[in-house]
Symmetry: C2
Subunit: 343 residues, 2 copies
């Protein structure tokens, strides 16, 4: 009887041990391990039994050495630390990607590139082929890291629409424009007409599209667009707070506020409370994302739900397809209006 898997830091069994145990050759074991094509049912069974008995687990390094693949992928975040700390969206995305990859038995390497030095180091690491592909989360516009990786031919899928749109860019995004339209229509349906907006950064497509949706619906509804009702932030809580203060000063008659992220909306709520405006009585507030920030806010935020679970799943699917040789592809997923107490 052979050694079982439990305990012991001794030499783990190799494919050779399994082959001997099963009475077949290395090649056959390898074939079973990789899909079982051209293997007789009898051999198949014998090998599986031997694997179970010996507690064999493939040595990924040996495999990678010959296949050239690393069978691991990187999750790259090119945002400053502080953003990572405060924004729950990253966690949802990170968790979703980790789990989607887990079903393929692919480990995820976390890469945080907040500073210039980190970016350099990580780019080097990736282009050296230590990961097969990269899931990139970045709200920056023409992120130099993305360009560099693309130039190096590294399979890459971005979260959110990238700026350049240079045809062969793979990305998954929620339908920002449509989501914004839904929210503004909702605010209009409540009878609000002086609807303010704290948009996202306008050097990102996400920021631009949500603002565009806002303007479109107002125009379609015959409501005049007042630039004093529009400011932009950077998705951080603090910028939502500051932006709302500016709006209150510029347009004191504001009766609704569409904020381009839940986190910024939290800041907006704080600013409104300080200014003595009641939500939703005086001002209806709508957010975007449906992150945990939305339910935690007081009052709970009406918001536009981004389907993060589907986004992460699709990112992984597109990346694996791209690694498998398919062309880069883009995907835009529908959003959903979630009504809560703030409107």
């Amino acid at each position: 009887m052979t050694m079982h898997s439990t305990g012991g830091r001794r030499k783990p069994p190799t494919i050779h041990d399994v082959a001997r145990e099963a009475g077949v050759s290395r090649g056959t074991v390898s074939r079973v391990l990789n899909g079982g094509h051209y293997v007789s049912p009898a051999a198949q069974e014998a090998v599986n039994a031997a694997i179970r008995r010996t507690g064999y687990v493939v040595n990924r390094h040996a495999r990678s050495l010959i296949t050239g693949r690393s069978d691991s992928i990187g999750f790259l975040l090119t945002e400053p630390q502080e953003r990572f700390f405060e924004d729950p969206n990253f966690n949802v995305l990170l968790s979703g990607c980790t789990q989607a990859l887990a079903t393929h038995d692919i480990p995820l390497l976390l890469m945080l590139a907040g500073t210039r030095d980190e970016r350099r180091r990580i780019t080097r690491y990736i282009t050296a082929g230590h990961v097969d592909g990269v899931l990139l989360v970045s709200s920056h516009s023409g992120d130099p890291v993305a360009e560099e990786l693309r130039a190096a031919g590294v399979p890459l899928v971005q979260c959110g629409k990238p700026m350049g749109l240079s045809s062969k860019v793979s990305y998954v995004a929620a339908d920002d424009r449509d989501g914004a339209r839904d929210m503004v229509r909702h605010l209009l349906s409540l009878g609000r007409r002086r609807i303010g907006m704290v948009s996202g950064p306008l050097d990102t497509p996400g920021g631009v599209d949500r603002l565009a949706g806002y303007k479109e619906v107002l125009t379609e509804s015959g409501v005049e667009i007042d630039e004093r009702l529009i400011v932009s932030g950077d998705y951080s809580r603090a910028s939502g707070e500051a932006g709302t203060e500016r709006l209150l000063a510029q347009a004191p008659d504001m009766d609704a506020l569409f904020v381009a992220s839940d986190l910024m909306a939290q800041g907006a709520l704080a600013a409104l409370r300080r200014a003595g405006r009641r939500v939703p009585e005086d001002v209806s507030v709508g957010g975007f994302d449906d992150s945990s920030a939305a339910t935690e806010a007081t009052p709970a935020l009406t918001t536009i739900r981004q389907p993060y679970d589907r986004i992460s799943a699709e990112m992984v699917r597109l990346l694996l397809a791209q690694i498998g040789g398919e062309d880069p592809a883009a995907m835009i997923l529908p959003t959903e209006l979630v009504k809560r107490r703030s409107t």
Copy 2:
């Protein structure tokens, strides 16, 4: 002139190419790569130049195959997803560990084991030797994963004091008891005497120790301990809210509240606001952690700062030491009282 590193997904240079380029043997290049002992300055220089010229990056798989090390470590979180989504502490820790490892050029694998199946899969992955060690974050008491890894001889460092205290357990924790003492002393110094507490889960040392500190200081100060002033939560925001409601019902004369985590304190503030209690006028509120939740709260929370940056740095240091053959070691770091508007 040889090919430069930029661009191209063609065969990357090997140690052999570098050797030829530098006019030395593979062995010498390898020695330079691994610390440069027993290498003449001239050879050293030639090799480094060749590495720069060829853009050589070591193939980690080939290295790992022979050394038996993977040169990567796992960050394992055995908490349910929801906790990961809402608690900013995880991000701070995760980010800190990633960066501490980056200085050693060691990638971090993210492992989320919220469910039973995931735990099984991940345990198997780890014991197969795919990582050299594990940084474990878990608030559970006798976490079975921890025991299993320990039994398998996997180097392991936990964040927070583990329950069993079975001598040979490596961990890094903040001084929970001392931090709690500071906070309660602070509340007493404000003249408060009916001090409530929402503790952490009492099957975790962290939860127990903070409660112990609270009771100690009260006793030392001659303030009677009233069990109606004590409830326990699970560190989630919702449990802080529910716990505070219970306290308000049981002890309406409460004039201060010590909550064992900032996230729970956010919930507590919501409950107090709903009950019409002003903070800090009617009730002084103190949190624990000094996470981003503390500054985001309204009013900003007085809290006990856990030195997360040092905690993550020490976790990594202890883990690498343990991988290097040293004995497991424990480390308790001091906390600090941070005064803000809530007291």
